[in-house]
C-alpha cells in the first residue's frame, strides 16, 4: 500500500491537476480569431480617425471570414480608446449583421469573425467612437460564392482517410511481427462468478 498523503497534500495534488486541466480547457475554448490579416479592402477617414480595414481569406466568400481594423489618429498613431463596430448589409435590408470588433491576435488591430451567409455585394460600415469624436467609413465589397464542400472542409475529411491508412499500415506491421511465445509464469486462476438471487 502506498503511504497515505495528508489531506492537505492530497488536496494540493488534486487542485494542481484540476487547475492544469482547467487552464488548458479554458485556453482551448477561449481561442480568439486565428485568421491571418489578409489584404486591405478599405482605407479612409472616419470622422477624426483614419481607418484601415483588412479581410481574410481573400477573395471574400460566403462563409466565415475575419475582419481586422486599424484605427489611427491624424498623426498616424494607433488609437486605443475607441469602440469599433462593423456592420454588413446585404441588398436585403432586413438581414444586416452587426459585430463589435475586439483586440485579437494582431497588436494594434481589432478583429471580428463573421459568417456572411450569401453571395452578393455587401455594404460594409465601420463605425468608430472615441474621445475625439465619432465617424463612419462605408464601402461595398463583393462576396463571391462559397467554395465547394470539399474545398472548404478538406482537412476535416482528409484526416480520417489518412488515419485509416495509418491504421492499415499499423495492422500490417503488427501482422508481420514475429509471434512472441507465451510467458511460462503461472497464470492467475480465474474467478468464478458467484450466483446471486434475482
Amino acid at each position: 500500500m502506498p503511504p497515505r498523503l495528508s489531506l492537505c497534500a492530497r488536496w494540493k495534488r488534486w487542485e494542481t491537476w484540476s487547475g492544469i486541466l482547467a487552464v488548458f480547457a479554458g485556453l482551448a475554448v477561449s481561442a480568439p480569431a486565428r485568421g491571418d490579416l489578409g489584404v486591405l479592402v478599405a482605407d479612409g477617414n472616419a470622422g477624426p480617425y483614419r481607418v484601415s480595414v483588412l479581410v481574410a481569406p481573400v477573395p471574400v466568400r460566403a462563409g466565415p471570414s475575419q475582419w481586422s481594423v486599424l484605427v489611427q489618429d491624424a498623426g498616424g498613431n494607433p488609437v486605443d480608446a475607441v469602440e469599433v463596430s462593423l456592420e454588413w448589409q446585404p441588398p436585403d435590408p432586413h438581414a444586416g449583421i452587426l459585430r463589435v470588433a475586439t483586440p485579437g491576435r494582431h497588436p494594434f488591430y481589432r478583429s471580428s469573425n463573421v459568417m456572411l451567409p450569401k453571395t452578393a455585394t455587401w455594404r460594409v460600415g465601420v463605425r468608430v467612437r472615441g474621445d475625439e469624436g465619432s465617424g463612419r467609413l462605408a464601402f461595398d465589397i463583393h462576396v463571391a460564392p462559397r467554395l465547394g464542400t470539399w474545398r472548404t472542409y478538406w482537412p476535416a475529411l482528409l484526416v480520417p482517410a489518412l488515419a485509416l491508412v495509418l491504421f492499415l499500415v499499423h495492422q500490417f506491421l503488427k501482422l508481420r511481427e514475429p509471434r512472441v511465445p507465451r510467458s511460462r509464469e503461472p497464470r492467475v486462476p480465474r474467478s468464478r462468478e458467484p450466483r446471486v438471487p434475482g
Binding site: L27, A28, A31, D80, H106, L157, L164, V188, S191
Partner: protein
Amino acid sequence: MDATRALLSSWSFEPAVVIGLGAAAGFYLRGFAQLHHQLPGRFPAWRRTAFLGGLAAVAVALLSPLDGLSDLLLQAHMAQHWLLMGLAAPLLWLGAPVVPLLRGLPRAWLRRGLGPFLAWPALRRALRAITRPLPALAIWALVTLAWHWPAAYQAALRDPFWHQFEHACFLAAALLFWYPVIEPWPARRKTERPELLLYLAAAAVFNTVFSASFAFSDRVFYPLYALTPTPWSLSPLADQRAAGALMWVASVPPVLLAAVAVVVRLLGTTPRNRARGRRPLAAPRKTGNVLGRIAARTSSLGLRRAAQLALFALAAAIVLDGWFGPQHPSALNLAGVLPWTYWRGIAVIALLVAGNLVCAACPFTLTRSLAARLLGQPFAWPAALRNKWLPVVLFAIYLWAYETFALWDSPYWTAWIIVGYFSACFLVEGLFPRGTFCRHLCPIGQFQFINSGISPVEVRAQDAGVCSRCTTHDCLRGNADHPGCPTGLFLPTKAGNLDCTFCQDCVRACPHDNAGLAGLAAGVGLGNGRSRRAPARIDLAALSLLICFGAFANAGAMVQPVISAGENLATWLGTSAAGFIPGLVLLAAMTVLPALLAPTCAAAGRVLAGAHGRRPSTREIVARLSPALVPLGFSMWLAHFSFHLWTGLGTLAPASDRALTSLGLAAGRPFAATPPTGTLFPELELWLLGAGLVVSVAVGWRLARSLATGPGPALRLGLPWAALALVLYASGIWIVLQPMQMRGMVM
C-alpha cells in the same frame, strides 16, 4: 495606443498548439521523473530545463504577440522563425527527449500503438538516412529556401493553414539539422566530430548568403507587407533589410556555441562522462495511478448523493416550470431548455471524457433504497425479460415520440415524462431487485451503457490475483457497511462498461481495496457483453444498431431537405397523416433499415470469407460485429447534441430569468436574442464523425479477427461492415452540412 497593452492583449491561444505543447510537456515530465531517478547521470535536471525551455521558445514563437506581428513586419516573422529553428530545436534535443517521451506515454499506447511503427525496419532505415549530416543539411537548406520563395511565403501569409504548415516544416527541418550536432541519447555516434565543424561551417555560410540577400537587396521580396498598414513609419524595404540583419546576427550564436561545444568535446574530458554510464540502475519508481486517486475522491457516497440531490432539485424545478410556466416559446421554459439542450449535450461530452457519470448522478435512482424498504422487492424480474429487447422497444418509442410529438417543444409533456420516469423507477426498483430499472428498462441508461463502450475509463479490479483469492465477493454481494453492485456485475469477470452505472459501490465494498477506475482504450469494451468469455448477444447487437442508426435518423429529421420531403409525402398522402409521417419515417430508418442491412452485411461477409476453418453463422456475425458501429453512432450523437448545446448555450439565462421572475425572485429584464456566432460548426462535427469512423473501423477489425481464422478471412468478413460504416459516415456528412432546424433557441 499603449504599445505594451496592445502587445499583452495579443496573445493567441491556438488550441492545437496549446494542447500539443501541454501534452509534450506532460509526457516528458512523467517519463523524465522515472529516468532521473533511475539514471541521474544520464538525465540530470538541466536536461529537463532545456526541454521545457525549448517548448517555451515554441510557445513564444507561435502564441505570443510575435505571431501577430509577423503578419505586419518581416523582421518579426524572421524572429519567429529564428525562435523555432535556432533556439527551440537545439534546446529540445538537449533535453534528450526520445526516451522520456516514450516512457511518459501510457504503456498500452506505446506497445500497441507506436510499437509496430518504432519497430518498422523501413521507417528506421529512412530515419537513419535523413539524420546523416549531408541529407540533414540539404533538407534544412531546401526547406528554408523553398518557404522563403515569394509565392510560397505570401501564400502562407494569406492562409492560416499554410502558415501553420510552414512553421511545422521549419521546426521539423531544424530538428533534423540539429540532430547530428547534438545526437541526443540513445542515438549512436555516427559522425566523427571533426566533420561536424565542416557541417556547422556550411550552415553558417548558407545563413550568411541567405541573410545578405535580404539585407542588401534593393527589391522588396514580399509586396504583401507593403499593402498592410502598420503603426510604424517603416518602409517595406527597410523592414526587409532589418530582417536580413536580424537573421544574420541571430543565426551566429547557436552555430558558434555548437562549434565551441564540438571543439571542447574533441579536446575532451571523457573519463568522467564514461563513468556516468556505468552507475548501477536504481529501482524504477512508481508514479502512482492518477485515475486511482480520482476514483478515491469520486467514489465518495456523499459526493454522489450531493450530485443526485442537485439534479433532483433541478428536475423538480423543470417539472414545476413545465406544468405552470409558459409553453411558447418553449426555449423560455426550463423544461424546454435544460433537458433537451443542456442535459443531453453535457451527458454525451461527459461520456466521452470521463465515462458514465450521468448514471452515477442519476436522480431517478435517488429513492431506490426507500422504494426497496417500502415495497420490499418481493418479485423477481421475469427470466424472459432479462435482456435488452424491452429497452430496444422503449428506446425506439422514445425517439419516435420525441419527433412525432415534438417533445423538445412541449414543456408540459416533458414535465410529465420526468414524473413518469421517477414513478416507474420507484415502482420497479421497489418491486424487483438488482437494478432492474437500470438494466432492463431505462432507455437513457441503455444509451449510456452502450455508448460508454468508447469512454476512456472503466471500473475494474486492479489485481486479478487478489480477486481469485477473495472468498466474500463483497463487490457483488455487498457487506454490512456497503451495498454490492446494484446491477449485479462481478468485477473480476466484468468487461467494459455495459450495465455499469459508475456508482462505485463495488469500490467502497471491496475489503481488499482492489477496485477502482482504470484507463481503457476507446472501443476496447465494445462487443464483450457484461462479462468476458460471454457469448455474443443478439439483443445487445439490436440495441447497438438501434442507437447507431437512431443517431443518424434523429439528426436527419431536423435538416431542411428531410423536413421538406416529409411535408411533401404528407401532402401526397393526405393532410390527416401529416403529423405522423416524420415519426414513421424515423422509426423505419432506425429499425427496418438496420434489420435489413446488418444481416445483409453479415451474409455478404460470410460469403466473401469463404469456407476456411470455422464458419460463423450470420446471426453470430451480426451479434459480434454490430457493436463496431457504436463509435460512429456515438460521434453522430455527439456532433448533433454539441451543435444544440452550442447554439442554445445562451438560452439558459433568459429561461432562468423568466422562471425566477415568475416566482418574484428576480426583477425581470428584457433578454436579447443571441444568434450563434463563430465558425466552430460544422467543421467540429466533421472532425467528430471522422474520429467515429476511424474508431469504428478499428473496433470492427478487432471483432472480425476474433471471429475469423486469419487476417484474410477477417478482412473479407469485415469489408461489408466497413462499407456500411462508410455509407453512414457519408450520410452524417450530408446531414451536418444541411441547414438545421434551430431547436431550443430564443430566436
